[in-house]
Symmetry: C2
Subunit: 323 residues, 2 copies
Amino acid sequence: MTRLYVGLDVGGSAMKAGVVDDEGHARPSVTLPTEAHRGQEAGLARMCETIRAAVSSAGVTMADIASIGVATPGLMDLKAGLITDPVNLRPWKNVPVRDHVMAAFGKPTAFQNDANAAALGECWAGAGKGAESLVFYTLGTGVGGGIVIGGRVIEGRNSNGGELGHVRIEMTNPRPCGCGRLGCLEAYAGAMSIVKRTHEALNADGGKSSLHGVLQTHGEMSARDVFTAWSAGDELAGRIVEETAFYLAIGAANAMHAIDPDMVVFGGGLTAAGEPFLERIKHHVKSLAFPLPAERTPIRYAMLGTDAGFIGAACCARQLVTR
Amino acid sequence: MTRLYVGLDVGGSAMKAGVVDDEGHARPSVTLPTEAHRGQEAGLARMCETIRAAVSSAGVTMADIASIGVATPGLMDLKAGLITDPVNLRPWKNVPVRDHVMAAFGKPTAFQNDANAAALGECWAGAGKGAESLVFYTLGTGVGGGIVIGGRVIEGRNSNGGELGHVRIEMTNPRPCGCGRLGCLEAYAGAMSIVKRTHEALNADGGKSSLHGVLQTHGEMSARDVFTAWSAGDELAGRIVEETAFYLAIGAANAMHAIDPDMVVFGGGLTAAGEPFLERIKHHVKSLAFPLPAERTPIRYAMLGTDAGFIGAACCARQLVTR
């Protein structure tokens, strides 16, 4: 009989939890608002509430659950099971997530970074199914990452493993990154930097791009608008998207020369740009990477969408109690 | 009683082998010329000869040896145990190193990339003793690398794991790399690129640097000359060395954000530049890396010198027969 695990993915606005079996199949998940502003005690209570709701939603009881996994964003101490300083969960600070959940349910409880969990989820039950190793980029406002080797997340000595958005790719003219450093991949390829780069290009464009119209109509512009304009043939948008694909291809090729994983997977909101965008990334990897990975290593979009985090958290839970 | 292993490190000009025990202690090693020009059959025979000589030199017999490990340079297929196309071992091609050595001695035989083996050797018995994970850069003509996680080498799907000299760090004005790509770390921080960058600087220097004298006297200049001039206070050499430290610090910080290892170790000929150079690398890492690794992660020179390769090869041999 298959065992069951609960995975919980805590995000800045919502928490998602679900029961997952030994094959990585998820039962219907539940989503509740995070409401971080109510403070971390309320947040911890909401985590437990979401876990209980997921168990109900799966039609089982807590006695059927072997272990629990929780994934969160923010600076954290994975060994201690703490979120230390979560930008997206203000005013939380030094939240003992793992110990709280473990005490609440009396079950072995795993704690993981959300991007790492998503990487593991994709490797276990998504785009990377069957892969032993995988490098995962999550493309949202910023660029997150996770590395799985031998089926395990690379957590790192300081819980900084897989921070692939903050690998530096430029020295001469480095863009400032939200992390306070210079020239990070995120400063080039995150949605926020795509918008910034597009604004810069529009300032020098003499009014030709259709994106001027978007700005006039809406007063602002998103990365999605840029991709939409690209699909419609806008030249400036095309240049921005092509550069973005090039930057991500540098990330992928660098991963191939450091880790040489079985697969590189891109997830997150930007993947809504669809297969044509992935094709441009692959195109650039062909010239940037060594011959063998360039030719052989699959580059794919993630398959689990916003379920990757809780499924990966459940995988961490499973790894706690399985060998 | 401790078991014994033989490690063999095959280089472009010489092979070095030694017997190593379970604690990573090496008996007196032997070195024989590689003489690659005599062809790969002669090369394989020389490998076996060096292994036998190492066993004699250790005062034991082949019956005392549990397993054998061989490390080589060049493009390779680690899973198949082949050197496929070794630049430094012309005219060798598709050399079945592992199977040949295994058949010759009837012992379990491991095969590894030389920089990976050196990384493992340092992790097991050198600068990284006690570390679970380590990122290793070897600074010679080029820049090699090796990653150890959980005491194991990251070999990669295509045997390209740990090729850290070919992680791209520049987009705007990338230097061409010996590998045919652009902007690789090696194109900035290898000895060959240090000499090239120094020549460029001398051309624009108006005759001030003491290195003009070195060039006039010897007709050429080495990276060692640049470091010597730096130690003597030469301003141009100081600029080149400072930039080199910055480039290597980018490599170290990128490793800290991807792998977040227990330790970063620099080995190879350039480490002859001594502690003052390492201090400059550490200085730049402080501002390039995230706070925790910047503060906590040790950055050290390798300790095993040219023994790292065969000791690491012996460690691979040991891992074949130990759990």
